[in-house]
Amino acid sequence: METRDSKSIKKALVSALPHTIPVFTGFIFLGMAYGVLMQAKGYNALWSVLMSAVAFCGSMQFVAITLLTTAFNPFQAFLMSFMVNARHLFYGVSMLGKYRGMGKIKAFLVYLLCDETFSIIYSIEPPEDVDSKSFYFWISLLDYLYWVLGTFLGGVIGNFVSFNTMGLDFVLTALFTVLFLEQMKAKENRLCGFIGIVGTVISLAVFGQENVVIPAMMIILVILTAGRKKICT
């Protein structure tokens, strides 16, 4: 039993790994950028890795650099983190079905939920002979480890890397675009995808780059709720 278990876990790793390569590229790059930035503010690799490992929230960690360099205000940090990460609420609602009955590892999967992990797990079905639980586990864990590793590398050797990485962050844009296209293959998803794009563009035009996410979520939620009967039949 033990060997069969470890064999099936290994099999899940082998089938999950290729799907995480774009995230590897993006997270090592952005994680390093974060580690370097923290270093520049006087926080060595120990601190940046601690933040990445405990909070694991990409864009909010960049925002939090500001919070670490002004007057001490933990409540503001908590509130801001909740707002900046609010999109996870929608990922959670989307994952209620997939993560149902996951048992002990459910809390682990939920803790490691991020934009990339959500998009991959929602879009990519594990192969038939691979246990979905182990598959989700590996996607989540690998993405998480890439981010922590990137942060560590940035904090330790970031200043010595000198090849021209300009534009490399596009890899995550490309990941979301491809997974969006994958979603659009199913006819019933097309209207919702269109609503997501249009709602966010409207929010961007009205509220600007800095505050785009929450108004966009509201616009999307209102339109989907209003059109629910039509979309979900």
Binding site: P18, W47, L50, V54, C57, M60, A64, L68, F72, P74, A77, F78, S81, F82, N85, R87, H88, L89, F90, Y91, G92, V93, S94, Y99, R100, K106, A107, Y111, L113, D115, F118, S119, S123, G167, F170, L172, A174, F176, T177, F180, L181, E182, Q183, N189, R190, I197, G199, T200, V201, L204, Q209, V212, V213, A216, M217, L221, L224, R228, I231, C232
Partner: protein, 111 residues
């Protein structure tokens, strides 16, 4: 460092708590042993494509549209994704190919 070690640690934990709450809240409200209302189930079906659309636009939000280069590198790279993906239908190829094109554009033509 501007804050003391303890203060930094508390800020890290506060940021982590805020993030964790956004992740756990839906699962705390609808645990495995409780039914999920039909409205939430429908949302769970409608939200993923919509949120992926949001993420695409969000990633492109910092592109310069009103001045040079008018978002052209982004547009070309997105076009490359769509064409490559229609043609080969290979996720890694579409992502890798378009990223290389985008980096080349940014570092040469539009640098």
């Amino acid at each position: 460092m501007y804050l003391t070690g303890t203060q930094t640690l508390i800020i890290i934990l506060s940021v982590a708590a805020g993030a964790a709450l956004t992740r756990f809240l839906p699962f705390l409200i609808f645990p495995d042993n409780r039914g999920v209302p039909p409205y939430i189930i429908d949302l769970g079906r409608m939200l993923p494509p919509a949120m992926m659309g949001l993420l695409v636009v969000y990633c492109l939000k910092d592109a310069t549209v009103t001045a040079s280069p008018f978002g052209i590198p982004e547009l070309i790279a997105i076009a490359v994704i769509i064409v490559l993906h229609k043609w080969k239908n290979n996720v890694l190829l579409s992502i890798g190919g378009s990223t290389v094109v985008f980096m080349l554009l940014k570092q040469t033509v539009f640098s």
